[in-house]
């Protein structure tokens, strides 16, 4: 007799048996098929919406390019004397090019994993038209989406995994041990040199494979195909992001499996197990994230938007008062079209245009502290969420998935920061030219700053994903530990 009967082949025997049992029953087929259907629908939905967004963005970029090209042609014609400039659409006039007439878009492209978790992509706009106006004006974050849909949420893969995967895990394994005990086969099993943990491991592995296969492999395959068929964006970071996403999904599923094992370890009936698990799901997936959001937004409340609106008005009013006289100057171009032509590299800028330029400049400066407060508050919220989010694995998994898909708050904050930087570059380019009344030449024209999106560093994405995985693994380990303790006293009889 060996003191430690080898468990390796016994584990394989258990796994083979579980597969045979699951194939013979109807339940696992239904669960597997259902899950496949949900994943397929969710993925299809995500791909469709992302494709739509990408098309819209491509159209914006194209429109910008076409406009700029047209303006350049116009400029050359004006300088050659073959065209007459109009007062408010004059490409030679830096004050016009700096404003809405010449403004260009800052665009946030979708990340390669975008279709997987649509996240905040419908709530936050992914384009801003940058002009010399204060950023409080053009960074008005409103995309037109029916608010009912914003309220309802997406049916994307993240939803299926965060909300529905746990239920499917329950359906397959709520009676992991309790069924064997209630049937009477547990005594037969444990009267052999089989460790209880070997039995559990065998059962868990098979079920995990059944569910994680569709959850991880199918989306990866579909995304890969979509990328090669040209439907989805590609990037060098895709491989890494996909790997981390697989790990995140695995860690999330592991948590729920750990919960199932822990509940089974207490030795209650199958019916009790099922009830406890459903209640846990309701608390952890439905209620906890809602309470968490509430807690975080109360602990780090946003400054008042109403106050911001008021402040903006006050600041604008003051600036307008300061440039009252300039605002009162008349336009000189009526009847004197020639005044709009550039002369010796200089161009006359109308008094009112100058006034508006100066007003916007002042408003932008004055409103900056208020806007910085909003950014600081958001950063604080994210910090709090990072620290306390582990209270709800559903929240951790959801935030982790949207971050990997590039549709989370963090990436959008980066986009906003880069837009602001672009705005600064825009102002730095145009303001001296407006002050000096320099007319545009084609060469100068080509130097107008363009927005170039700098993707998040891969290291940052990896670090955040790793943190999320860790936040899911720790409670799993605790639950497994609890299970191990209870299983020691597990009564078979």
């Amino acid at each position: 007799m060996s003191i430690h009967p080898p468990q390796g082949r016994r584990l394989l025997a258990v796994m083979r048996q579980e597969i045979r049992l699951m194939l013979a029953e109807r339940g696992p087929w239904v669960v597997g098929a259902l899950f496949l259907l949900l994943v397929a629908y969710a993925l299809g939905n995500g791909l469709m919406q992302t494709a739509k967004r990408d098309r819209a963005q491509a159209a914006v970029a194209q429109a910008d390019r076409d406009t700029r090209a047209g303006q350049r042609v116009q400029l050359e014609a004006i300088l050659a004397g073959t065209a007459q400039p109009t007062p408010f659409e004059n490409p030679a006039d830096p004050s016009r090019m700096a404003s809405g007439y010449g403004g260009q878009h800052a665009l946030l492209p979708t990340a390669p994993l975008g279709p997987v978790a649509l996240g905040q992509s419908d709530l936050f706009p992914s384009q801003y038209k940058v002009t010399n106006q204060s950023r409080v004006v053009f960074m008005n974050p409103s995309d037109i989406e029916n608010p009912w849909h914003l309220l309802s949420g997406h049916f994307d893969l993240a939803f299926v995994i965060v909300y529905l995967l746990p239920l499917l895990i329950f359906a397959l394994s709520y009676n992991l041990l309790s069924a064997e005990r209630e049937n009477g086969t547990l005594r037969l099993l444990l009267s052999q040199p089989l460790r209880l943990r070997t039995l559990l491991a065998g059962k868990l592995t098979v079920r995990a494979a059944v569910l994680l296969g569709p959850a991880v492999l199918l989306p990866v395959a579909v995304l890969w195909i979509a990328r090669h068929a040209g439907f989805a964006g590609a990037s060098s970071a895709m491989g890494s992001a996909t790997l981390w996403w697989a790990l995140l999904v695995g860690a999330y599923a592991l948590f729920w499996f750990a919960l199932v094992v822990a509940v089974n370890a207490f030795g209650a009936s199958s019916a009790t197990n099922a009830m406890v698990l459903v209640i846990a799901w309701v608390m952890l997936v439905l209620v906890a994230p809602v309470l968490l959001n509430l807690a975080v937004t109360r602990a780090a409340p946003a400054p008042s938007r109403t106050e911001l609106a008021t402040q903006q008005r006050v600041v604008t009013a003051e600036a307008m008062k300061r440039y009252q006289d300039l605002l009162g100057t008349e336009y000189q171009h009526v009847g004197h079209g020639a005044i709009l032509m550039p002369r010796n590299g200089k161009i006359e800028i109308a008094g009112r245009a100058l006034a508006n330029y100066k007003i916007e400049r002042e408003v932008d400066e004055a409103i900056r502290p208020a806007l910085d407060r909003f950014d600081a508050q958001q950063a604080r919220q994210q910090q709090l969420l990072g620290r306390f989010g582990a209270v709800s694995p559903a929240a951790v998994a959801y935030e982790g998935m949207t971050a990997l898909a590039g549709n989370g708050v963090r990436r959008h904050a980066r986009f906003e920061a880069q837009t602001v930087a672009y705005h600064e570059a825009w102002k730095a380019f145009f303001f001296p030219r407006i002050d000096a009344r320099d007319a545009f030449t084609p060469a100068e024209f080509d130097r107008i700053p363009a927005f170039a999106w700098q993707e998040e560093p891969a290291g940052l994405m990896r670090g955040q994903a790793a943190l999320a995985v860790l936040q899911l693994l720790v409670p799993s380990l605790l639950l497994f530990g609890l299970a191990a303790l209870r299983l020691r006293r597990f009564s078979v009889a």
Binding site: M1, I3, R9, R10, L21, G184, L188, S191, R195
Partner: protein, 235 residues
Amino acid sequence: MLRAIGLTKQYGTHTALDRLDLDIRGGDIYCLLGANGAGKTTTINLFLNFIAPTGGTVEINGVDVTRHPVATKQDVAYIPEQVTLYGTLSGLENLRFFAGLALGHELPRSRLLELMTEVGLDHAAADKRVSAYSKGMRQKVWIAVAIAKAAKALLLDEPTSGLDPHAAAEFSDLLRRAADTGVAVLTTTHDLFHAQQTATRVGIMKRGRLVESLDGEAQIANTDLQSLYLQHMRA
């Protein structure tokens, strides 16, 4: 082979087993008699580590069961009163699985069919779903597992309850054959006839204590087991 030394099991204030001493050697067929709740099944459960003792020790082949619960399972085969198998699978598939768990490696189909024949199940029945089996047939599959295991000890809990006389006799033959090969057998039963016919040693339990012991087939044959049993029960 099977030893209990001062074995005690208490559930709160209720004493299920009170300082039981047993020493069953290879070749013994020990029948434990007693009423419901006397502690027979508790004894079996303690040998199998299905429950933990409150006091005393229980050993299989000289190894403490509580210290090496999994290892000691190699030397003992357990046959419960009610054998439930995996109904959606066939008798052969159940045998293959459990024998594989018992031995740690798979047996070839030829050997499995051999075992089935040995317990009296024909090949046609072997491939049918267990949900169609009778209680006797399910027990036979389990006996096949026990035979495959070739363990040094056998633990049986009320093996003949619900079996017709022919099947019960078959069972007794099986036990005798096993004892002849040196296996230690511990069986609990209500069936005094079966005990008288088969046992080499008898113990009567009442309220967790061993109140009577008979050793040797001769002694058992010469005792009116029924009167003795009822005498203890009424006292």
